[in-house]
Each structure stands twice: as C-alpha cells, then as structure tokens.
C-alpha cells in the first residue's frame, strides 16, 4: 500500500506547485464570461473591443488534465485509506489470509476443502 502513497504525494505536491507558480507571475486579474448572466462588456473605442486575450482552449486543456489527474489521485488515495482501515479491523491472530479464506468459503465461491 505504501507504493500508492508516494506517487499520490508527488501528484499533490506538483499540483500545489503549479497553483503557486501561476499567481506569482504578474498578471492582471479579470474573468472570462462563463454563463447567461455575464453581460458582455464592450468598449467600442478601443481596438478589438478592449479584449486583449481570450481564455484559450490550450490553457483550458491544461486545466482539464490537471483536474483529471487530481480526481483519479483522490480516488486512489481514498481507496488506500479505506483498505488500511480494513486491515486494522481484521483479527490479527489468524491473519489476513485466513480471514479471506474463511470468507470465500462462506460465499461458496471457493469449494470447501475436502477431507485430505
């Protein structure tokens, strides 16, 4: 299970680093319109109606990839945490393997051991 935790940490750190780098670059904040109630702001006097850049597809794609990685990473992390909690709940003297064997026999998915 430790194999999952280290890459998960790396992913989180990379995302945090990316988030920190962007605000440090000198940018002018504003916001691209998203929805119905964003009323378009126009300045007919300026060239290009005052819009210098669009919220481009390329940059947005970077965001999409980051979110996808974060989503899968979060799922993997959650799964790891749950499994770790489960192993702590299992009775230790018989061990995990024995607990699994007992369970699978109860489900009849494995044939019961014959009298060898």
């Amino acid at each position: 299970m430790n194999r999952l935790v280290r890459p998960a940490r790396l992913v989180v750190l990379a995302a945090l680093a990316a988030c920190l780098v962007l605000p440090l670059a000198p940018q002018q904040a504003s916001a691209c319109d998203v929805s119905y109630d964003y009323k378009p702001q126009l300045n007919l006097g300026k060239p290009n109606m005052g819009r210098s850049k669009t919220c481009s597809t390329g940059t947005s794609s970077v965001g999409v990839v980051l979110v996808a990685i974060a989503a899968f990473g979060a799922l993997a992390l959650a799964g790891t945490v749950v499994l770790r909690r489960a192993t702590s709940l299992l009775p230790t003297p018989p061990g995990e393997d024995q607990a699994l064997t007992d369970y699978l026999q109860a489900t009849s998915l494995t044939p019961h051991p014959g009298p060898h």
């Binding site: 929805s35 109630d37 009323k39 378009p40 126009l42 300045n43 007919l44 006097g45 290009n48 109606m49």
Partner: protein, 110 residues
C-alpha cells in the same frame, strides 16, 4: 416505503431548511443585483456626435469620428439581433447591444 427513524431524518430536514434559507438569500441578492442594474455593463463608449439643432438628423458636419473596427472574423452565419445565449425560441429583439445602429454611419461599416 419505510418511514425513517426520527432524529436522523429530523437532522437532515433541518439541514435542508438551512439550505433553503441560503437559497432564498441567494435569490434575493441576485435579483437585487440584477434588477438594480448593478450587473449591467457600462454603456458602450461611443464616439460622441456633436449636437446641432436645425440640421436634419443624420448629417454630421465637420470631422467625422472614425467607425471602430470590428474584427475581421465576424461570424456571418449568426443572426445579428440575438442575445448571446438563447438560440432556441428567440424573437426579434430590436438591437443587440454590441451592434447599435447608428443613425448614419459615414465612412462605411461592415
């Protein structure tokens, strides 16, 4: 359908009530902002026409302010009098804010 156990359901209903209060507050705030015009963009800065009484409308003497350039990739298959977001069932609104019809536009316009 089984009726749920008392305290657990009560707590959830109370949570929903809190959410409803937040929803109503958001609605009131949104309506206040919108209907008071706080969300309206400032009027497009148009070149000012000199006001000359006695002249017929549409005859601007003197130096004529140049028509601002609209970008060349103006999509030609969009209807010109439509608010930018409801493609379905849109009646004719007299003019889209971004393309006001000037009384006269010397110098040409796209």
């Amino acid at each position: 359908m089984e009726r749920g156990t008392g305290p657990a359901i009560e707590r959830q209903v109370r949570l929903v009530a809190v959410g409803a209060a937040v929803g109503l507050a958001a609605l009131v705030a949104g309506l206040a902002i919108n209907l008071s015009g706080a969300n309206d963009p400032p009027a497009p800065k148009l070149p000012t026409f000199p006001q000359l009484p006695g002249k017929a409308p549409g005859q601007a003497p003197g130096p004529v302010p140049s028509v601002p350039q609209l970008p060349s990739n103006f999509p030609t298959d969009l209807p010109t009098d439509m608010p930018s977001n409801f493609p379905t069932g849109v009646p004719s609104m007299p003019n889209m804010p971004s393309m006001p019809s000037f009384p006269s536009v010397p110098g040409g316009a796209p």
